[in-house]
Amino acid sequence: MVHRIDDDWKTLDEIWLSDGNLAGKAKVQARVSFAKDRNEDS
């Protein structure tokens, strides 16, 4: 998946969580950005 730098959380996938009795959907989400400080040091 492609993120734009200013994107907020993006959902990558939906999975199931279960404790053995109930199962519910959960969202796998990611957010990316530049490491400003580290890149400025480089």
Binding site: M1, V2, H3, R4, I5, D6, W9, L12, D13, I15, W16, L17, S18, D19, G20, N21, L22, A23, G24, K25, A26, K27, V28, Q29, A30, R31, V32, S33, F34, A35, R38, N39, S42
Partner: protein, 243 residues
Amino acid sequence: MKRSQTGKNQAHQSGMARNLSFLLRGTIAVQVFLFGLVPGCHDPAQDLNVCPPSMFVPGEIASEIVAIDESGLIEPIFAGSSTASNGWPQESVESSAARATSHPHGTQVCASGCAVSRHPTPEFKEAHFHQLWEEYLRQSPSLDSQVLDELIFYGPQTKKFLKTIPGEKSSHRAFLQQELAKDQLVLEIRVVDEFGVSRLALPPTTVPQHVRQEFVMNTQGIQPALTSGTLKRVGLRHIWQRL
């Protein structure tokens, strides 16, 4: 069992912390890749580029270790502190954050987590570079354009060619070098259940591009899960990720 909302809430509040199995349809091993600019890889339905990413060499020694195999593609290589003569890392490279540990891709395929896909980068032909460079010189240095995206996409190969052209102090060269130097990225991951609770979370973690990372996740009421992935910059403002 009747799956009423009340039952769900009760189970969630009282019993989720005990013997919770984390069932995934696929795998929680997460691959992160960044990709773009290769024709035929854009999925208009999702507005995404879906092809495997190209991989190129970060760091200043790119020109020494960019290698093209018999297929004519650039291998996914990493210029870490312990690289073999062919550019492949020989051992894990310590990440910038304790939460992320680098694990090199295999020599032919990813070590794990991304099945057997390779992540080749097309060779950046010198003539193609010069064509893009000439186009780039005709625009504002910071204009978000396909030309600039493509120069950034080829990363280390672009760096190599930049060394061969005159104009040390040109604003275009300075801007492009500045952008190509941004090879440290911050990744956050979370798994949010249907009640809005974050059950797995990776707080903001600095990771290098191109290198598959394994992540230490915070968990809430569930057993530890293996998470891994790779990030790659594919344009001025785009990062390709696969988890």
